[in-house]
Subunit: 108 residues, 2 copies
């Protein structure tokens, strides 16, 4: 689906971006970046989706490595996966910084 000219970093950044590519997931990430943790139940109360759909979104974030769940019976406590969150931050920062202020560069 890709090739060697596409770097490992681009692959990773795309993976994270994809996980961030939905308003619900963006909302969850932003919440978790502000308040350290949350429970699925609290989210379903605020969000316009049923719990099973939310569960899928959380799974996507989990699969992408951006969040992690910790059992705290009978609930599950969700937090950011700090390690990967940092990696995503670094990747995006690098990516975003990339062109900050460029006059007129070569065109091809």
């Amino acid at each position: 689906m890709v090739k060697e000219i596409i770097t490992e970093e681009q692959q990773k950044a795309a993976r994270y971006a994809k996980a961030m590519g939905h308003p619900i997931r963006m909302y969850v990430l932003e919440l978790l970046s502000k308040q350290s943790c949350c429970y699925s139940g609290d989210l379903t109360e605020d969000l316009p989706i049923v719990k099973s759909t939310l569960s899928q979104h959380l799974k996507e974030l989990k699969d992408a490595g951006l969040i992690q769940g910790e059992i705290e019976a009978p609930r599950i406590k969700y937090c950011l996966n700090r390690e990967n969150w940092k990696e995503a931050q670094d990747l995006f920062r690098k990516f975003l910084k990339m062109d900050s202020e460029m006059p007129e560069q070569k065109c091809q």
Copy 2:
């Protein structure tokens, strides 16, 4: 598909993230953030996809507002859409900065 608790900014950020959510598109964006413009033909030579597929990816980036094409017959010159690129940068910067260094915050 969403609701009011999800902010306009989150919607926008998610839209940009979605467009960035594929290695090919990430590659193109990174290239354009480095070299100001490129042509589709140059890309197809390097990338492992045929031109019609590339055209679709470019269209997605265009629809998301991240790039723009300018006719330069017989080719089309692609550049970043500076205005929206800046908006995306700001949105992500804001988002990424959000938790930079937090000790231990309230959990719900």
